[in-house]
């Protein structure tokens, strides 16, 4: 280690040293690289010959496997309506490719380890920084450039340049406004859904209206607003992402209300709640009939249907919004208004 130490101190000397925390290493001497041990393939020509055979056999095997993959492509076609054929196609093309690659890899590594010279080489390291002359020259170049351009002397020019460089990307930022429709305001969109006074509650996905008498105690319905299924595909998904509702019927005595008004939003124990989790928006639709709990499958927030869907566990902060419902003349369930608060995840401007 003595020689090592000397080199190290030179390294340290070249830099501003504050390495106060470092204790000098021990002074055992480095015995140097252990003596080279020949491999079996170096000593026994028979073993070397065998290693050679293994390596070239693997390369030939690889060729065979590649050819096999091409034949598998032809002889294991995908047949219509036959999932099994897809599996066979994937399996045999894949096995052919895998074996052709593995054989090349194993052969090359085996060649490298057993047959190529295993004498270790030594490279010398140099400090990463440039030599003193190089560094001095680099500093000089910057000084020359500074003098020749007057970069730090002509401050008006310099500051003008910096200002211009800061300003020029601004139009690019403005251009990104076009990523969303110019005539829409997200606040407005997030605060309203498709539900309106008189919309019938219909089944998801058929769109058939639901009669109050069809909803027995303990049953749960996946609900979408009337007319949703007739929307074009994209408007449909956008609308559904906000308007999806879960309808359940409980024994009216099991429902606790904080106000008369909230109670009037239910109909004979039938209640409708937004299905969009108030945490990050997954569909909350695992309904536990016995406990009247709703569970969100994404992050396990739990809501208590008998207590206005209050959060009883999990990361959600707010109860699920309730959809006020009633029954029309024909006995079908209808909404009496839109949700009275924004559905889904919270957002910055939600409260105003």
């Amino acid at each position: 280690m003595a020689k090592n130490d000397k080199d190290k101190s030179q390294l340290v000397a070249a830099e501003p040293s504050t390495g106060t925390g470092v204790v000098a290493p021990t002074e055992f001497s480095d015995p140097g690289l252990p003596p080279h041990r020949p491999r079996v393939t170096d000593l026994d020509p028979k073993v070397a010959k065998r290693a050679e055979r293994i390596v070239y056999s693997l390369f030939y095997f690889s060729i065979a496997a590649s050819v096999f993959a091409v034949f598998a492509y032809m002889y294991f076609p995908i047949e219509e309506n036959d999932v099994h054929s897809v599996r066979m196609n994937t399996l045999f093309i894949g096995l052919g490719i895998a074996f052709s690659l593995l054989a090349i890899g194993i052969a090359a590594v085996h060649w490298g380890k057993q047959l190529m010279s295993d004498k270790e080489g030594i490279d010398h390291r140099h400090p990463v920084h440039g030599t003193d002359e190089t560094r001095a020259r680099a500093v000089e170049i910057f000084q020359e450039a500074n003098e020749e351009s007057g970069f730090s002397r002509r401050t008006l020019i310099r500051n003008g340049l910096i200002g211009a460089l800061i300003a020029f990307p601004l139009p690019a930022i403005a251009l990104f406004r076009g990523l969303a429709p110019m005539d829409q305001d997200p606040n407005n969109e997030l605060k309203h859904t498709m539900w309106k006074k008189g919309s019938r509650l219909t089944r998801d996905p058929s769109g058939l209206p639901i009669k109050a008498s069809d909803v027995t105690i303990g049953s749960a319905f996946q609900v979408i607003p009337e007319g949703l299924v007739d929307l074009p595909e994209h408007e449909m998904l956008d609308a559904k992402a906000k308007a999806a509702v879960l309808l359940v019927r409980l024994n009216p005595e099991d429902l606790n209300w904080t106000s008369k008004q909230r109670e009037s939003w239910a109909y004979e124990g039938i209640v409708a709640y937004s299905k969009i989790c108030t945490h990050v928006g997954c569909p909350v639709a695992l309904y536990e009939q016995q406990t009247h709990h709703l569970l969100c499958p994404c992050h396990q927030s739990q809501f208590d249907v008998s207590n206005e869907c209050a959060v009883i566990f999990g990361p959600a902060a707010r109860p699920l919004p309730q959809l006020p419902i009633a029954v029309d003349k024909e006995g079908y369930l209808i909404a009496t208004s839109d949700f009275t608060e924004p559905v889904g995840p919270s957002f910055w401007e939600r409260a105003n």
Binding site: T26, I78, A180, D238, H279, P283
Partner: protein
């Protein structure tokens, strides 16, 4: 170049080499790099796996782009998969199904792509752990750690954008969660999601936009950062494990040509082969089972790809009711807190080399790696970090843990919440004690040799076990490590002790107080004399 004459003989190879060199001066590069030495160790392969899986991703991904349609235009599925026939879905989903069921080898390439992506992030993670626990990030490699860290983040971004492209139920649900998270970001969240999705969620733009990121912007950035990363590996030369004959001034190993080329080149094919084997036999992301995206159906027990798990877990561990309305604006703490937690965790990982360099005050270059036991506090910090990550990751499977082990959901979450805080502390203490115990064992072995199992009865009737001293090569390995002592708190040039100096001294004590110094020759001589009488 008139004084260079083309070799008169030597056949095609020599002529071709001469032709190339006269136009590219490539002989210089061959001279420089052809016999460049790379040290050999299995743990150095982890970074190679990452590089190779990225190549596999590029190859299989290019194939997929020829068939995939990054469009949310609704189409009626008319492909071969019967259960979904006639169902309305986006062109993205339909073309992904076509790749899976109508193009020979298409499903194979999809699975190669997905498995290689999982391997890519996993190998980057393991490579980072190797670099961390061996102290390979020390000067002069701090910046290369930062570059590698950026690659890790880019890899996760690549993974997430790719996961979202097929527009199936799961990817839509993943996007819904991202939408919900971004909405919770104060001030700008609402507008960011609005711009990202081109209007309301899910809109009809997001797949196309993610596709641009996934196949153009992000891979270009990954390539640039890989190029920088490798450039620095060449400039710094590779680190090596300590051992006899290995010093801070040399690199011991095999030359690029031929041994390293054969082994590393061969290893590429091995990695590719293993990925192909897995892809041929194990299904991944069977989107045909999930169906097209619909905001309404239930999807219990679904999970993101493994590397997003820690972020999903962070979302799950937040206690209920964390939201406040201040001055008419909504502060969604249940979103803000986990995001902050993850950002702080990632920032600490990013900054660790700079923090440690400041604490040790060590300005030397380090090319010899530390054995993890010889840096007990760093090892303990790493163990604490891994535990923290692991708890978040486990939390992403909280529902599956509850159903598989028949325990309550609440119990799992509450346990994980406690573990998130206690786990890293326990891991820190245990790892530090284990590292110090191993150092003590090393000392013991150096001083007294190892037990031979040979029991000898002395003439006086006493039984002793014969200890065998180490040979000088093995001994060198155990005594030649970097030893740091806590910094002394000293006044600066103005005679003042600054707050920063105090903090640094406190950190330094924290790092190096419980140190086990390597055996000195004097101690060794004494122990040797002792054992001889």
């Amino acid at each position: 170049m008139s004084n260079v004459t083309a070799p008169s003989k030597g056949g095609f190879t020599a002529v071709a080499a001469n032709y190339l060199d006269e136009r590219t001066s490539i002989s210089g590069a061959v001279k420089e790099f052809g016999r460049k030495i790379f040290p050999d160790h299995w743990s150095f392969l982890l970074g190679e796996v990452a590089l190779y899986s990225f190549v596999i991703i590029l190859l299989s991904g290019s194939f997929l782009t020829f068939f995939f349609q990054a469009s949310m235009t609704p189409v009626e599925y008319e492909g071969s998969y019967v259960p979904l026939k006639g169902i309305e879905m986006s062109a993205a989903m339909a073309s992904t199904l076509d790749i899976s069921f109508d193009i020979r080898g298409g499903l194979l390439m999809r699975q190669v792509h997905h498995w290689a992506a999982l391997l890519f992030v996993a190998s980057i993670g393991l490579h980072m752990l190797r670099v961390f626990f061996t102290g390979a990030f020390r000067k002069p490699r701090e910046l290369n750690w930062s570059i590698g860290f950026v690659l890790f983040v880019l890899a996760m971004a690549e993974g997430f954008t790719g996961y979202s492209l097929p527009d199936d139920l799961l990817s839509g649900n993943g996007l819904r969660i991202i939408d919900g998270m971004v909405l919770g970001v104060p001030v700008i969240g609402t507008w960011i999601t609005f711009l990202l999705f081109g209007g309301e969620f899910p809109g009809s733009d997001i797949v196309g936009r993610l596709y641009s990121l996934h196949i153009l912007l992000l891979p270009a950035m990954v390539l640039i950062f890989i190029a920088l990363h490798l450039m620095f590996v060449v400039i710094h030369k590779h680190t090596q494990y300590p051992g006899p004959g290995k010093t801070e001034q040399n690199v011991v190993g095999f030359p690029v040509l031929p041994v390293y080329a054969a082994k590393a080149g061969g290893f590429f094919f091995v990695v590719f082969g293993v990925v192909a084997l897995i892809a041929a036999t194990v299904t991944i992301n069977p989107i045909w089972n999930y169906g097209p995206y619909d905001p309404s159906p239930v999807s219990a027990g679904t999970q993101p790809d493994w590397y997003i798990g820690f972020a999903d877990g962070a979302l799950r561990l937040v206690p209920p009711h964390l939201e406040t309305v201040w001055f008419g604006y909504t502060w969604s703490w249940n979103i803000i807190l986990p995001i902050l937690l993850l950002l702080v965790f990632l920032a600490l990982a990013f900054a660790y080399p700079f923090i440690e360099a400041w604490v040790t005050g060590d300005k030397r270059e380090h090319h010899l790696l530390d054995r993890p036991r010889n840096a007990p506090v760093r090892t303990a910090i790493g163990a604490a970090g891994v535990t923290f990550y692991a708890v978040l990751w486990a939390a992403a499977s909280s529902d599956l843990i509850a159903t598989h082990f028949k325990v309550t959901m609440e119990g799992v979450i509450n346990t994980l919440q406690a573990l998130l805080i206690l786990g890293p502390i326990i891991a820190f203490v245990v790892a530090k004690r284990v590292a110090i115990a191993l150092q003590k064992k090393d000392r013991e072995i150096v001083l007294h040799g190892y037990e031979t199992g040979r029991i000898v009865r002395l003439p006086g009737g006493e039984f002793i076990e014969v200890h065998q001293q180490l040979d000088e090569y093995d001994r060198w390995k155990l005594v030649s490590y970097n030893d740091n002592a806590p910094i002394m708190l000293r006044p600066n040039a103005q005679g003042k002790i600054t707050g920063a100096a105090r903090l640094r001294a406190a950190f330094s004590r924290f790092f190096f107080e419980d140190r086990i110094a390597p055996v000195t020759p004097a101690e060794y001589k004494k122990a040797l004399e002792h054992s001889h009488h």
